[in-house]
Amino acid sequence: MTSRPVRTAPALPALALPGAGLVLLLSVGVAVTVGPADLALSEVARSLATHLGLGGALGVEPLSALRDGMVWQLRMPRILTAAAVGAGLALCGAVMQSLTRNPLADPYLLGLSSGASLGAVLVLLVGVPLLLPVAAFAGAVGALALALTLAGAAGAITPTRTVLAGLAISQLCAAAVSFVIFWSATGDAFREVLSWLMGSVASATWTSVAVAGGAALLIGVPLALSGSVLDAFTFGDTAAAALGVPVNRTRWVLLVGVALLTGALVSQSGSIGFVGLILPHAVRLLTGARHRLLLPLSALAGASFLVWADTLARTVFEPRELPVGIVTAAIGAPVFAALLWKGKR
């Protein structure tokens, strides 16, 4: 048996987080410049400075209204929403995989995406798109409540019960979504529903940024700091308890945290697949299995990843747009296959 080199080089932890933060910052800046009108990075900076009220102090000239609108009203909210959603999904995926000890777990495990879809599809078909985020969030929280009730019915929420309860609720909501679409959707409504189901940040506004970003900060930061607690679950529930972790309470708190964050993200972007599943696995290759670095690094990597995936989604077939969910799946599935191949596990 050969001894494999261990992945945590001593210099990595110190540099990884600032490095990933820098990549994210650059990604956001460059992504804003990508698109039909040739914008320069300096123009992005000028627009930012103006809107942050630093224009005068820095002696920066504002952009023309048209170009400024493109940066500040169209691209910036969309890209920042993509970053927040990507960060939240990757983080939630990592937490979920550890909590359930299941490498296939993703943020939607508790039936959240199907629940959100049900809520969203209902309002889309009734024709009150304004209520869409609220309905999607309500659907996600409803699915969560059902799944947790089912999982916790016997007292302890074990990983297996969590996965199975999530599966049951997922299938139930998916059936309801299919039924509603089959029964009542026609032409445009159908297209709208389909695009929502695949996930997209195309219609993101500053409100989306506030909701997704706010949730990512308020819930995501505490989640990202829970690494030591999740470490304790490495060898299972009994081992965690023997290390002084209150197993059931911890699992409840983290599951609810993940679900609320995911619900908030889904309400803004629809359910974008693969980010929450693949990113944690990819980052784990770099950091090893311990969570202190894995969680924040997954979040930053997920943010950059979705920023670029969304940039591809809006530019590859310009002027047509793809739902970003198609791009994440198109990139995610082969990457996942490659990881499996390399991992020999």
């Binding site: 992945r7 700091l225 529930d237 081992a239 308890a241 002084g244 299995a289 311990r290």
Partner: protein
């Protein structure tokens, strides 16, 4: 021989009079079935106490209940009273309890790519603030635990690539990194070859000599005869015999519990009992 192992507070002075682990009226019910029925046991401090019994007699459950980590089922009657020295284990806050006692489970595994050193560092969790990372002191404690468990050379290996015996030593090291004064083990010699079994028991003896109270479930009665100070024999969730090795490992006690014929011989060199079995 000393292992160089030290518990967080030094194990000298007053603790010589430490009473060890005592459990009274430990009863546990799972799905309406009484798996432990009024178990009382005493494990003297600084000794190795063997927990014996046929399959399904409640050894593993008893260890988990004593450790306060049994998830399924619930205590019946008033709940168990377990004390370690002057401390009421049931009343200790979890984290504090995790600094006093450690449990080595039988089949703890993980699918995650984890280095041995990282796995052992998990044992430091009860000793540090929730948000803190590994300190140099934690890494030193983990390395020393690895050395005590005879696994120092494995530090950089990945847990998934270890053999059964190596993995068992790593689990032992993870428990020792908690710096417990009470060590509970569930069949630590399972799946080990004979040399590894003896080495594992040797480690437990050395730890006991350094003042740790060791309670270990064992299947192999001869291994228990050769290495334990005290024995507790369980059958159907009840204690049927307890005491020094020579009092428990006798045909009159063992034959009805295991349903086999037992002859007790004497080891020519150590003078300890050696058991021979026939189908009754």
């Amino acid at each position: 021989m000393s292992t160089g192992y030290t518990t967080a507070p030094a194990v000298t002075g007053p603790r010589a009079a430490h009473a060890g682990l005592a459990g009274a009226d430990v009863s546990w019910e799972i799905d309406g079935r009484l798996v432990l029925d009024g178990v009382g046991l005493v494990a003297p401090a600084g000794g190795v106490t063997g927990l014996l019994g046929p399959n399904g007699s409640g050894k593993s459950t008893l260890l988990r209940v004593l450790a306060g980590v049994q998830q399924a089922g619930r205590a019946t009657r008033n709940g168990p009273v377990t004390t370690f020295g002057a401390a009421d284990l049931g009343a200790l806050p979890r984290r504090e309890r995790a600094r006093v006692l450690a449990l080595v489970e039988q089949d703890a595994t993980t699918d995650l790519p984890l280095s041995v050193l990282d796995a052992v560092l998990l044992g430091r969790i009860p000793h540090r603030a929730l948000l803190a990372g590994d300190s140099d002191a934690d890494r030193a404690a983990a390395r020393s635990a690895l050395a005590t468990a005879g696994a120092a050379a494995l530090a950089d290996r990945e847990v998934g690539t270890l053999s059964g015996g190596e993995r068992q030593r790593v689990h032992m090291a993870r428990a020792l990194a908690q710096e417990p004064r009470l060590l509970l083990l569930d069949e630590p010699t399972n799946h080990l070859d004979i040399a590894a079994q003896l080495a594992a028991m040797r480690t437990l003896r050395d730890l006991a000599a350094d003042g740790v109270t060791v309670v270990t479930a064992l299947h192999d009665l001869n291994l228990a005869a050769a290495t334990c100070d005290h024995l507790v024999l369980l059958a159907d969730g009840r204690v049927v015999a307890a005491g020094p090795v020579a009092e428990v490992l006798v045909p009159a006690v063992l034959e009805p519990v295991y349903g086999v014929r037992v002859d007790v011989l004497t080891h020519p060199r150590t003078g300890r009992p050696v058991l021979s079995f026939d189908e009754g």
